[in-house]
Amino acid sequence: MSVAEKRPLAEASHVMAALQRIWQGARLNWATTTGAVIVLVAIGAAIFAPLIAPYDPIEIAIENKLLPPSAEFWLGTDHGGRDILSRVIWGARASLTVSLLAVVIGVTGGVLIGLFAAYHSGSWVEQIVMRAIDAIASIPLLIWAIAIIGIVGVDSVDIGPFTFTNVHKLLILIGLLYMPTLARITHAVAQVEMTSDYVKARRVQGAGNLAIMFGDVLPNCLSPLIVQATLLVAIGIVVEASVSFVGLGVQPPTPSWGSMLADARNYVFSGEWWLPVFPGAAISLTVIGFNLLGDGLRDVLDPRRSTGRLLT
C-alpha cells in the first residue's frame, strides 16, 4: 500500500469518519449536545422568525406600552408596545447574520491567506504575509469596529450596484479582523502538512500544487478551523450586541438584542425588569450554546489543541 493510499484525505470516507466521530462524541457528552441544541434553536429562530414570532416586531402600539409578561405577551412589551418575545426571536436574525457571516468572511480570507503563506513556506513572501497578519492582529476588535463605524456613519452606503447597510459594514469589519486568527491556524497546520511524506508522495504522483493545497492540505486544517470558527461566532454575537448597544450597530427599528438592551437602560430605575432580562438572557444563552458546541467539537476534532483554550 503506497503512502498516498494510506491517507485518502480528500475522499468522502474521511469526512464521514469525522462526522461519525462528532456524532459519537456528542452522544457521550451532554454539554456538547446541549450546546448543539441551543445553536439549532437560535438558528431556527433566526430563519423561521416570520413564522414563529407571534406579533410584528416593528409595529408600534402605544396602547400596549410597557406591559409585564402575561398570557398575551409572554415576555411583556417594550416602550413602543411591541412584543418582547417577537423582538427577541427576530433579534436572533440580526445577531446570527452578523456573527455567522463575519466568520464566513474570516474563514474564507484567513484560509486563503494561510494556505498562500504556507505554500511559499520558507520564502520572504511568507514572512511578509505573516507579518502583515500580525500587524492586523494588533488591532483591538471592538474599539476599531466602533471607531470605523463612527467615522463612516451608520447610514447605508452605496458602492456601485451594492447597498451596504450598517449591518453589512459591521460584519465585514469583524470578518476582516477575524482573518489573522484563522490565517495563523491554517498556516501553522498547512506548514507542517507541506513537509509531510504524504504530500511528497502526492507530488511524485503528479498532483499539481493547487490540487494538493485544496484537496489534501486543507481538509487537515478543517478540524481546528471548525472549532475556532464556532468560538468566534460566540464572540461575534457579543461584539454585535455591544456595538448595537452604543447605537452604532443594528439601527432601529430593526430589533437587535443589543439595541433592546440600550432601550432597557432608560427604564432601569423603574420596575420594568423584563426589558433588560430577556434580550440579555437570549444573548447569554446563544453564546453559551456556541461555546459549549465549540468546546465539544474541540474535544472530538482537535485534541491536540492547536486552537486557543477557552473553556477547558
Binding site: 454539554a31 507579518r131 500580525d134 500587524a135 494588533s138 488591532i139 483591538p140 476588535l141 471592538l142 474599539i143 476599531w144 466602533i146 471607531a147 470605523i148 463612527g150 467615522i151 463612516v152 460566540a234 457579543v238 450586541a241 455591544s242 448597544f245 452604543v246 452604532l248 438592551l261 432597557a264 437602560r265 432601569v268 430605575f269 425588569w273 433588560p276 432580562v277 440579555g280 444573548i283 447569554s284 444563552l285 453564546v287 453559551i288 461555546n291 459549549l292 483554550r309 477557552l310 473553556l311 477547558t312
Partner: protein, 316 residues
C-alpha cells in the same frame, strides 16, 4: 534573549506605525472637511480654505501624516481637536487614568478570584467543586459584561441601594464612595476573565500535577504544599501570558462598561467624539487604545518566553 526582545520590539513599533497610518488615512479620508464642522454650516468657501491652510489640512496626506507623527513622537502631543478646541493631551490625561484604574481593578479582581478557583478545581478534580467551577466558567464566559452590569445596576444598585447606579466618584471625594462607584463596573468587566483564567489555571495544573517531575517530587517525599507549588509554577506560565493579553483586551470591553455606568473614561471620550464627528479626537483615542493593546500583547509574548526556562535559552 536581548536580540529576540529587540526583534519583537521592532516589530511592535512597525505595527504601531502601520496602524497609525491606517487610522490616519481613515480619519482624513472622510469626505467633508473638519473645517466645516468647526466653522459651522454658514461658513463660506473662503473661510474654509483659510482654515484648512492655517491648520495644514490642504497639504498632501503623507505630509500631514509625517507632521502628525513627528508631533506625537517628538513632543508627545496629540494636537488639538478642531471641534472642541481642546488639547487632546488634556483630554487623555483626564480620561486615561480613570479607564486605567477601572481595568486595573477588574484585572486584579479577576486574578485574585481566578487563581484560587483554578487551583481548587484542579486539586479537587472531578468533585462538585470542579463541576461547579466549570458551570460558573461557562456562564461567566458567555454572559456579556455589559448585560451583567445592567443587571447589577438594576438589582444591587437600584433595588437594594448598595452601590451607586452609575457615575464616577473621584478619589478626592472620599475613598469609600470612590470604591463603591468602581466596584460594580470592575466586577462586570472582570467576570469574563475570571472564567477564562480559572479554566486555564485548572487545565494547566491538572496537566502538571500528572507530570513526571511531580511524580519525582512525590517520590522524594516533598510535602503536599511544595508539590503543589512545583506543579503550579509550571502551570502558571501560559496563564501569565494570557493574563497580559487579557489586560489589553479588557480595555476594549471597558468601553462598553464605562458607557453603561457613565464613567468618564476614555471610552466616553471616544463615543462623544463619534457623536460630534470629531474625527481627530477619535483618532487620538483609538490610537492610545491600540498602543495599549499592542504593548500588552508584546508583554504577553515576552513574559511567555522569559518564564519558560526552556524557551528563554532557545532561538528567537
Amino acid at each position: 534573549m536581548l536580540r529576540m526582545l529587540l526583534n519583537r520590539l521592532a516589530f511592535s513599533i512597525l505595527a504601531l506605525l502601520f496602524v497609525g497610518l491606517l487610522l490616519f488615512v481613515l480619519t482624513r479620508g472622510v469626505p467633508g472637511s473638519p473645517a466645516r464642522v468647526a466653522l459651522g454650516l454658514e461658513a463660506t468657501d473662503t473661510q474654509i480654505a483659510q482654515f484648512e491652510k492655517d491648520h495644514g489640512l490642504d497639504r498632501p496626506v503623507v505630509e500631514q501624516y509625517i507632521r502628525w507623527l513627528g508631533q506625537l513622537v517628538l513632543h508627545g502631543d496629540f494636537g488639538r481637536s478642531f471641534v472642541t478646541g481642546r488639547s487632546m493631551n488634556a483630554l487623555l490625561t483626564e480620561t486615561l487614568p480613570i479607564t486605567l484604574e477601572l481595568v486595573l481593578f477588574a484585572f486584579a479582581f479577576a486574578v485574585a478570584v481566578a487563581l484560587p478557583i483554578g487551583v481548587l478545581s484542579a486539586v479537587y478534580e472531578g468533585t462538585w467543586i470542579d463541576h461547579a467551577a466549570r458551570i460558573f466558567a461557562v456562564i461567566g464566559v458567555s454572559v456579556p459584561g455589559f448585560w451583567l452590569g445592567l443587571m447589577l445596576i438594576r438589582f444591587p444598585a437600584v433595588e437594594f441601594g448598595w452601590f451607586p447606579p452609575g457615575g464616577f466618584v473621584p478619589l478626592s471625594d472620599g475613598l469609600v464612595a470612590h470604591l463603591q462607584s468602581i466596584a460594580l463596573p470592575a466586577f462586570a468587566l472582570g467576570v469574563y476573565y475570571i472564567a477564562i483564567l480559572s479554566r486555564m489555571t485548572r487545565s494547566g495544573l491538572v496537566e502538571t500535577l500528572g507530570s513526571e517531575y511531580v511524580r519525582t517530587a512525590r517520590a522524594l517525599g516533598l510535602p503536599r504544599g511544595r508539590v503543589l507549588w512545583y506543579a503550579l509554577k509550571n502551570a502558571l506560565v501560559p496563564v501569565v501570558s494570557v493574563g497580559a493579553m487579557s489586560f489589553g483586551y479588557m480595555f476594549g470591553w471597558a468601553l462598553i462598561v464605562e458607557y453603561l455606568f457613565n464613567i468618564p473614561g476614555m471610552s466616553n471620550a471616544l463615543l462623544t467624539a463619534v457623536g460630534q464627528r470629531d474625527y481627530f479626537t477619535m483618532q487620538a483615542v483609538v490610537y492610545v487604545f491600540t498602543i495599549i493593546f499592542i504593548v500588552s500583547n508584546l508583554a504577553a509574548d515576552l513574559l511567555n518566553r522569559q518564564l519558560n526556562p526552556k524557551l528563554a535559552s532557545a532561538q528567537p
